[in-house]
Amino acid sequence: MVKKVIQKIRKAAISDPDFEVSTRQLPPRGPETKPMTPVDKDWIAIVAFTIIILAMPWWLQPLGAAYPDLMQKFAIYGIFALGFNLLFGLTGYLSFGHAAFLGVGSYAAVWSFKLFTMNIIPAVLFAMLVAGVLAVVIGFISLRRSGIYFSILTLALAQMCYNLAYSVLTPITNGETGLRVLRDDPRYLDAAFGTEHQGVLLGSLFGERMVGYPGFYLCAALLIIAFYIALRIMRSPYGMMLRAIKSNQNRMIYTGFNPRPYMLTIFIISGMYAGLAGALLAITDPLAGAERMQWTASGEVVLMTILGGAGTISGPILGAAIIKYFENIFSALNDSALASAFSFLPHSVQEFVVTILSPFVGEGWHLTLGLLFMVIVIFLPGGIMEGIRRTYRFLRGHGRGSKSQTDLQAAE
């Protein structure tokens, strides 16, 4: 019975353009090639994704973003947005309090460093566990409602967590100053195994300190695993159920399903993704501050997802990268940097260009981001991924047959 229903939903999904991402069939590629199945495409997507992520130190070079800290941020916020998208993209439930899980994950990881060991494995597991438990609580309460009420409930609960972390729970969180790893923390496991820490205390994986490039590759590896799991969830019958919740919850209830357990499960999974991202933030930089839980941080992940393309698998990661890029690179451009960038122009023109552009860089990076966001939402409601898809279709319409497989994968 269940199988039948799932098949039905799947059939409906295939004929529904909304589901295009998951089950879109490739057009026939000439008589001699076998049509590719979605699973083939998934594997190619994963391999392509792996290569793109691991090759970031090279292809980001011309963009000025190929330094470990920013690439770590790309990967970490990619995981965060990926998890958020599992909830929002699949079920349409817009959580406005996801930063709470990120922050709690960070705090849990730092506490693991303080109490247990500087090894990162317990930190990651502990952070995901704590974030998961918090997700059970918040999810149980807020999933009673849907739509805007759900958003408001999650926002309210997350702000509550933020204020608790900021003031009431100061003994646990160290308030605004932020929780740091100190030399005189107990670290019972390290003490039991007699591990001594030389120099600065940093998260380590069997002796390798997780900062700089090793830190980036750790985050990248976890991002790839997270990507794979997200893809499997989206393709699974369970993912289909979640899509069913998005398209018509009533119909699903009439067929005899209770959507609540499905919802709660994906909410917890999504929360654990955020917890993992929070743990990685604390691992690459052993400090946890309350500002990570603020509503602006929750809003940021919504922006990332919508900017990249909600419901697509790689869109949120792209969105996360763009926002972090703006925050770190655009905010650092100053007038003198602009002047040197346009030094090829005649002096008066150069001055004019710099005057025009300077409000949009440096402290004005929010403005540029806002404009970009508006343009995307107005002209490409499906996010940047929709833009890429449209470009691809346009190009295919003009140069039929000249397209290679990798282009398609980039669009996916």
């Binding site: 130190p57 800290d69 941020k73 900021y166 932020g178 740091r180 600065v200 930089d285 905010s331 440096g362």
Partner: protein
Amino acid sequence: MSTNDRTSLSRRSLLKASAAGASVLAAPHFFIKGAYAAEYCNMPTGDTVTLGFNVPQTGPYADEGLDELKAFQLAVKHLNGEGDGGALNTFKPSNLKGNGILGKKVAYVSGDTQTKSDAARASAKRMIEKDGALMISGGSSSGVAVAVQSLCQETGVIFMAGLTHSNDTTGKDKRRYGFRHFFNAYMSGQALGPILAQEYGKDRKAYHLTADYTWGWTQEESIKDATEKLGWETVQTVRTPLGAGDFSQYLTPVLNSGADVLILNHYGSDMVNSLRQAVQFGMREKQVNGKDFQIVVPLYSELMAMGAGEAVKGILGTANWNWQLDNDGTKAFAKSFGQEYGQPPSQAAQTCYAQTILYANACETAGEFTPPAVIKALEGFEFEGLGNGKTLYRAEDHQCFKPVLVVKGKENPSNQFDILEVVEVVPTEQVTYDPSIFGGELGPYEVQGC
């Protein structure tokens, strides 16, 4: 989506992909090894040396941050021998030659701390990892200063703190690679206490509103200690979130508490808002316990006083420096800053300017850029001519000791920049303390580096 489909990905392509993946994974280590083999972080190799100026450009301390950035730019100009040289002409003992630092032209990069520890560290990391900054300076919040300072210790880059007033910066969170020119909350308490007793009497009841982070906590503690020693009573201390905007909910209970002095441990736009609202509430006209109700701002800033307007008149506080001080260093710096930007510098600007000059001079003194040598040149360094009179960089905690100003909002300002008057210059001896009272340890000279 059956399992049969999944195997249809050919083995060959999977092998190819994994080989590609593996080589990609291995290659960065191969290329980067050389770059990371340098003994110290970001030693300059070309003919320029890059400094990183990390200031708040958004958030509650943005005004200070932008003023700091101006001072940094001016300092870079002067170090490179451009402009009129400013306080470089009055600074002594000086090894600066006006041709950059050790013959290398000074370049700089800037970033936005957003007054958040996370963002500040991300920005500092960018400067260190990408831009190759040799030294990080700036910041207008102690929370940020403490966070960035410990990052700099980890990576082996010297941090010349900007405006940070918490005792922790050179107290329990002090670091070998961190230096502070600005004064601290303890000094404010020591300087301000006697003046408060003299002006307002010895049997006062104080009510504290405190910004809820490291600076607010230590300032509240220092002022409380100093005033209680004089016989004051502390009625209550209330913590307010940073950047709260509206303080009316915190101000309402003050008048019913029986307190007759309100102490605002706020800074930046928080200070502007809470002070203005307190004045709007009519607190300054009130009589409590038969005495005039008073408001005290332990840490003053000119930019903040400009923002608060009329509200600051007659209000006491302390400052690190004021552009109207009568000494050569101050005059030279204020003149040069005024010519460049058309307004007098704030104390935030002065401390950042001084820090940049001091760092450059320490490199010249050491004759090299390696951090341990520069640190040793700064430790115990005695100088004058940067505007604060005779100053000592104490080796034990990297804190500068110099006279502290007790200031008051002017009743009849002659122009929009003439807001504060100096009530007293408290001599260095009165604000000096034993470095061991705050605990903490500086840590090693040699660190693994970035």
